[in-house]
C-alpha cells in the first residue's frame, strides 16, 4: 500500500476517538462505501450501468435478517450466507443482464430491482412488508456485544469494508481486472482477441452481487432490522450518485463518495429536513459538469498539476 492509502485507512479509525457520538453514522458510511465499491466493479471497471443494484444489497440484508430471526444469530456466518445468497441471485440474473448494453441494460436492471422490491413488499408474511422485518437479534461478534454507541457496529462494518476492499483491489490488478477494463474500453474488440466477454461479465456481476449482499447483511446485523428501503429504487439511485460523485473507475471513488454524501446528508437534513436533496442535486450537477472523473478524479488531476 502507498503511504497515502495507509494514512487513509488509519484515519478511518479516528471516529472512535474524535466523534464517538457519530459511530452509527460512521458505520452507515462504511456499509454504503462497500455497496458503492461493489457498483464500481460493474460500472467503473466493466462498464455495466445498473439502476437496480439495491436488489443484491437488499437480498443480502433480508437473508441475513431472516437467518438470525428464524435460525441462528452468529453474525460472521450470517454475513457469509447473506453474501453468498446475493451471489447466487447475481449469477442467476447475470445470464440475462450481460447480453444487453446502454439503455436496455439500464431498464433491465431497473426492472429487476423493482420486481424484487415489490415481491418483498407483497410477501409480508416473510419480510414483514412495509413494517419491516422485526425480531432480528444478533449474537455477540467474537465475544463483543453490539453496543448502543455503535462501537462494535463500526468496527465490524469497517473491518468488512477493508477486507472486501483488499479483495476488490486484487481483482482490479489481476488479468481478469485487465480484461474487464478491456470490455469497458472496447467491447467490440474483445471477441477479436479471443476473449469470452460474456463469461467475464457474468463473473464480475456475480462478484459485485456478493459484495453488495455483504454490505446489506452488515446493515441488517448492525441495525437489527430490515426495512423495504434496502431494496428501493432510491437506494439504487443513491449508490450510483455516490459513485459518480466520488469518481467511478477508481478504487477509492465509492468510499470518498460515500463519506461526502452521507456526511452531507446528515448535516443538510439537520438544517433543512425537507429539501436536503436539493443540495445533493446541486452537488451532482456541479461535479458532472466540472469534474467528469468525480471528486477523486479532480483531486488526482490537481495533485498531478502540483507536481
Amino acid at each position: 500500500m502507498r503511504p497515502l492509502e495507509i494514512a487513509f485507512w488509519a484515519a478511518t479509525l479516528l471516529p472512535f476517538v474524535v466523534t464517538p457520538d457519530y459511530l452509527s453514522l460512521a458505520s452507515q458510511i462504511a456499509i454504503t462505501a462497500l455497496f458503492a465499491l461493489s457498483l464500481d466493479l460493474l460500472l467503473g471497471y466493466a462498464g455495466i450501468v445498473s439502476l437496480g443494484h439495491a436488489a443484491y444489497f437488499g437480498f443480502g440484508a433480508y437473508v441475513a435478517g431472516l437467518l438470525s430471526k428464524h435460525y441462528w444469530s452468529e453474525p460472521l456466518s450470517g454475513l457469509v450466507i447473506g453474501a453468498a445468497a446475493a451471489g447466487v441471485l447475481g449469477y442467476a440474473t447475470s445470464h440475462v443482464i450481460v447480453r444487453f448494453r446502454h439503455l436496455a441494460l439500464i431498464m433491465l436492471t431497473l426492472g429487476l430491482g423493482l420486481l424484487l422490491a415489490e415481491a418483498a413488499n407483497s410477501a409480508s408474511w416473510l419480510t414483514g412488508g412495509a413494517d419491516g422485518l422485526q425480531g432480528v437479534k444478533m449474537a455477540p461478534l467474537l465475544g463483543f456485544k453490539f453496543d448502543l454507541y455503535g462501537r462494535t457496529a463500526y468496527a465490524y462494518s469497517l473491518a468488512v469494508l477493508f477486507l472486501l476492499f483488499l479483495l476488490a483491489r486484487r481483482i482490479i490488478h489481476s488479468p481478469f481486472g485487465l480484461a474487464l477494463r478491456g470490455i469497458r474500453e472496447n467491447a467490440l474488440r474483445m471477441p477479436a482477441i479471443g476473449a469470452p466477454s460474456l463469461a467475464h461479465l457474468r463473473k464480475v456481476y456475480t462478484i459485485a452481487a456478493v459484495l453488495a449482499g455483504a454490505a446489506g447483511a452488515v446493515l441488517t446485523q448492525t441495525t437489527s432490522t430490515v426495512s423495504l428501503e434496502v431494496l428501493s429504487f432510491g437506494r439504487s439511485a443513491d449508490v450510483l450518485v455516490i459513485l459518480i460523485l466520488g469518481g467511478a473507475g477508481r478504487l477509492y471513488g465509492g468510499i470518498v463518495g460515500a463519506i461526502i454524501y452521507m456526511v452531507a446528508r446528515d448535516q443538510l437534513a439537520g438544517m433543512n429536513p425537507q429539501y436536503w436533496y436539493f443540495w445533493i442535486g446541486l452537488l451532482l450537477v456541479a461535479v458532472v459538469m466540472f469534474l467528469p472523473n468525480g471528486i477523486l478524479g479532480g483531486l488526482s488531476a490537481l495533485g498531478k498539476k502540483a507536481q
Partner: protein, 248 residues
C-alpha cells in the same frame, strides 16, 4: 490454411457475398482489392464470424469453423484488424497486447493473482511491441499514441493471439500515402509461415507486397491470380484499374 466455400450473404435485397470461394495456402500474402462496396470488409466479417453467412462453409487448417463464435475462431488461429482503429483508448499499448496474450493463454479469468505474477506473458507482449517498433511507447495510453502507431498497435494486438491466418482490413487506412509503404514493410517482415490477407486501395502497395491478388466486385470474386495475371486481365482493367487510370 483458410478456405471458404459458397459463402452467401444478403442484407435485405442487397447481395454482399455471392458464392464466394477462397483457398488461402499457408504463408501466402494475399491482397484483396475491389471498388468501394465490393464486399471486402463483409468478407472479413464473414470469415471471422462477426457476420453469419446465409449459407456456405468456412474451414481453418482443415477444421470446419462455420459454427464457431468469433472468439473461438481467434482461438483456432484466425485474427483480424479493423479499418477504423478498434483499440482500447485508455489502456496502454503494453496492456492492450498483454491482454490479448493473457486471453490466448486462458489466464484472463484469473482474478486472484496480481499481474506482475504473469511476467513471462507480459514480456512476450513487450517483445511483440518491440518487433513492430512500438517499444518506446509501450507504457503510453493508446489514445495518446500517434495515428500511425495506433495502426501498428492494431496489428500488434492481433499478432498477440498467435494467429495462423491474419486478415488486415485496410491496415494503412488514413495513413499518409508516403508512409503506407513503411507500414507494409513491417507487415512484409512478419513470420514467413503466417498467412496474410490484406485489403488495400493503393495499387503500388498491392503490387509490391502481395504475392497473389483477389479481385472482388459486387459481392463476387472476379478473379484470383498473381499480380501479373491480374494486371493483364481485361475485366479487371474494365471494372477497377481502368477507372483508376481514367481518374489519374
Amino acid at each position: 490454411m483458410l478456405s471458404a466455400k459458397k459463402l452467401n450473404k444478403k442484407f435485405g435485397s442487397l447481395v454482399v457475398a455471392q458464392d464466394v470461394a477462397l483457398e488461402l495456402p499457408a504463408g501466402v500474402r494475399y491482397a484483396l482489392i475491389g471498388p468501394n462496396g465490393a464486399g471486402k470488409t463483409t468478407l472479413i466479417n464473414l470469415l471471422t464470424g462477426m457476420l453469419r453467412p446465409d449459407s456456405g462453409e468456412i474451414s481453418l487448417a482443415g477444421r470446419d469453423i462455420t459454427g464457431l463464435r468469433p472468439e473461438a475462431r481467434v482461438g483456432a488461429g484466425l485474427a483480424r484488424t479493423f479499418q477504423i482503429n478498434t483499440l482500447f483508448p485508455r489502456l496502454s499499448a503494453l496492456e492492450s497486447v498483454a491482454l490479448a496474450v493473457l486471453e490466448r493463454e486462458r489466464h484472463a479469468h484469473n482474478w486472484w493473482r496480481a499481474l506482475p505474477a504473469f511476467e513471462p506473458w507480459i514480456e512476450e507482449a513487450h517483445g511483440i511491441l518491440e518487433r513492430l517498433g512500438l517499444a518506446d511507447v509501450a507504457h503510453r495510453v493508446t489514445r495518446e499514441l500517434a495515428y500511425g502507431q495506433q495502426r501498428l498497435l492494431e496489428i500488434a494486438v492481433a499478432l498477440a493471439t498467435r494467429p495462423r491466418v491474419l486478415l488486415l482490413d485496410e491496415p494503412a487506412a488514413g495513413v499518409p500515402k508516403g508512409e503506407s509503404a513503411e507500414l507494409f514493410t513491417v507487415i512484409a517482415g512478419l513470420a514467413r509461415e503466417l498467412t496474410i490477407l490484406f485489403i488495400e486501395h493503393d495499387m503500388n502497395v498491392v503490387f509490391r507486397f502481395a504475392s497473389r491478388i483477389i479481385v472482388m466486385v459486387g459481392g463476387r470474386i472476379l478473379l484470383e491470380g498473381t499480380p501479373d495475371e491480374v494486371a493483364r486481365d481485361a475485366r479487371v482493367r474494365e471494372v477497377y484499374l481502368g477507372k483508376h487510370a481514367r481518374a489519374a
